[in-house]
């Protein structure tokens, strides 16, 4: 290449036409450690999933991820905290499914509409379980028993809007007259412990939490709340008994990483790439298999579609069960 005044001039013009250094700065993102806020407490599923993926994300980003639990108000406190921070990509929310119900339960105006999903990490599959000496071997036997003895069967629950509550709403919608007594506990751990002690008769719980107890024969599985069987579990999918369930599925709790919606596009793109890669890393997938959750590893549009569908199914189930304080229609949640 001949180097003369003209090419030099052209080069200088090209340089001047380059984006200003500010953007170059953005390309260096992340320049300092990133703050991760976990909306649930230490020792919970959200905490475990987040802490399992975080070291891999750090590798991909080449920057530290400082994790802090900010629990309270079914996650409202942590979500509000992140929402109150600058939209610069240095504050990431690690959340579960709960924000999608804040609106209908009247807890907060925030939902994942105000955030951008960097990645949905994993989702859990609910399993219908019963105490080990219960007289039912499958979902059909349970349903027949409940229909013959309304209100006498005790169901372990985790409160309004919790997983057992929603699965119960699905059952009640599919089986008219399905009436049980819901006894709420402080989470699926305590509820499963009560089931193991025989203080409640049945409940729905996420596979990962119930698996080891089923394997040891301390509780038994009646059905899988999914379209297909689960690997390592000898229980039929609920759709075999109640084909109408298919319209809700796949349904279950999920975990993801989010940034504020207003975060600049290049930063989002960089974070999304790192998070999706980390979520698809074999080490994280191995953790998921061990923890009993289904790895998702989807970001962007795909994730948004999942979030919307999940919200629509669940919010309307709550509304039909009479548990919604705010009509989903007024929140712009469409019925599927």
């Amino acid at each position: 290449m001949r180097l003369n005044r003209r090419t030099l001039l052209a080069g200088a013009t090209a340089l001047a036409a380059l984006p200003p250094p500010r953007i170059a700065g953005a390309q260096e993102f992340p320049a300092r450690p990133i703050q991760g806020t976990i909306q649930w407490g230490a020792g919970g599923s959200t905490d475990a999933v987040t802490r399992a993926v975080a070291p891999i994300v750090e590798e991909k980003l080449g920057q530290k991820l400082v994790l802090t639990n900010r629990p309270g108000g079914t996650g409202v406190i942590g979500m509000q905290y992140v929402h109150g921070q600058r939209a610069d990509g240095y504050n990431i929310l690690f959340g579960a499914e709960n924000p999608q119900l804040y609106g209908v339960l009247g807890l907060s105006d925030l939902s994942y509409k105000d955030f951008y999903p960097l990645v949905l990490l994993a989702r859990g599959t609910p399993v219908l379980v019963a105490r080990k000496d219960a007289p039912w071997a499958d979902a059909k036997a349970l349903i027949d028993h409940v229909l013959a003895n309304p209100d006498t069967v005790k169901m372990g629950a985790t409160g309004v809007g919790g997983l057992p509550f929603v699965v119960h709403a699905m059952l009640a919608a599919q089986v008219p007259g399905f009436k049980v007594t819901q006894v709420p506990f402080d989470g699926d751990g305590p509820a499963l412990t009560a089931l193991e002690g025989g203080h409640v008769d049945f409940m729905a719980a996420v596979w990962g939490a119930a698996r080891e107890r089923i394997r040891a024969g301390r509780i038994k599985a009646l059905a899988v709340i999914a379209n297909e069987r689960l690997e390592g579990l000898d229980a039929a999918p609920i759709t075999a008994t109640l084909p109408g369930f298919a319209k809700y599925l796949p349904w279950g709790p999920f975990f993801g990483a989010f940034v504020k919606k207003e975060t600049p596009e290049p930063i989002v793109a960089k974070l999304e790439k790192a998070f999706v890669e980390a979520a698809n890393d074999p080490r994280f997938k191995e953790f998921c298999a061990n923890f009993g959750v289904v790895p998702m590893g989807i970001g962007g549009k795909e994730a948004i579609a999942f979030l919307e569908r999940w919200q629509s199914v669940t919010a309307w189930l709550l509304a039909d069960a009479g548990a919604a304080k705010v009509d989903p229609a007024t929140l712009g949640i469409k019925r599927l």
Partner: protein
Amino acid sequence: METALGYFLMSWLDPFLLLLVAVGTLAGIYIGAIPGLSVTMAVSILISFTYAWDTNEALALMVGIYMGGVYGGSRTAILLNIPGAPAAIATALDGYPLAKLGEAGRAIGVTTVVSFLGGFVGIAALALGAPLVAEISLMFAPRDYMLLGIMGLLLVASLAGESLVKGVVAGAIGMLISMIGLDTMSAQPRLTFGSSALLGGVSYVAVMIGMFGIAEALAQLHGYAAPAVKQKVDKIVPSLSTVLRHLPLTLRASAIGVWIGALPGAGGDIAALMAYDHAKRSVKKPSRPFGQGAYEGLVAPEAANNAAVGGAFIPMLTLGIPGDAVTAVIIAALFIHGLRPGPNLMVDTPHLFWFTVGNLTLANIFLLVFGLTGIRLFAKIVEVPKAILLPIVVVLSVVGAYAINNNPADVWWAVGFGIFGYVLKVYGYQLGPVVLGVILGPIVEANFRRTMIAVRESWAGFALELVSHPITLVLTIGILLSILRGTPLWPKLVGMLRGRAVDASR
């Protein structure tokens, strides 16, 4: 048996594991001593930190931190009247008066030795009776947790001080505070006045820090110019006769600690309070009146909360059910390290049980060593002039309150309750019952509601529940007896029974 011994000694013989347990215990003592910094949080942070480590190494460190942390809470409780952790609340009741009497060093010495002894009782229970204790702990139904909570609330009577009415009022205030926030059973916000900052409720650690730390600092402003109490720093290590004199109480308190610790719905904080109550009821001639520096009031909660560590591991290692918040985090850590905690944990990874027992034993020994060194230096903290010490107490309280959930609202709560607590103090109300109400209120309330829901809101059904199981029956009778003891009927009843006994012997 030989393999069990081999697993037990794994950390004893591997210098690196040994070092990790030691470092963990030492770090735990200091994390436990700083209010607001909890062992739960420390272990949780370690999950990411030890991600790439070998499982055994991570566990050795975590167990050390746990053991040290439970003990560490007593330090600041005795020296500054700020319990470093909720499990040390009962410790402050007699520990701080001891520091005011110039016996902080001795108090720490006794605390260390009984914590060590209590720790061993917990470990022994874990090693020898784990499967049985775990099965019994599962039998506890919501009604039993409710009764246990009520039993704890009866402690208000012994914490009330001069007036029982004031004690009950203080306890009720505590229970009211505990109701603030989102009720997860119904998803209804309660007493939040539409503010989402109140949705998360008031952390009881913030209440504790405010009521003990800040309120005490404010109260001491009255006499800030008074010379600090000279601390006696001789005879730090308690003599054998002192230890032996307190041994029966230590063992009884440890048994309470193991039992409560093994229950999935109750941990070291409740164990310590129940043990304090037990000491107050059973020790007829304490070294000083309770609340004014009785060593018995120090021995019971400290033995109990360290015994609760071994207790909490019982359901965790045998069934995969956490006995408290820390074991819940350790379970999450095991998952991340590729293990599957659950009823089959001991089948899948047979070494884990005895390895953990070995680590706990080792940590307990390190606790004694680290605990007994440096006491002279620590005791001197109380001698610092109040003009310097009180601001430090306030700063520590504020930092601690923020550290609970990294939420500035907790700082405001701590300051607010500090001022409120000071006002209560001025009018002769004791603050112990308030904190008791905050801790036990939710247990009683939630389990009462669970029981009522389960019997479909029938009072007859509820009454029947209270006598429906041997465990429940024992708890019900225990509560009725301790209420009866407080009424004028009791002496008459005892008199009648005595009379009859005399009659029979004739």
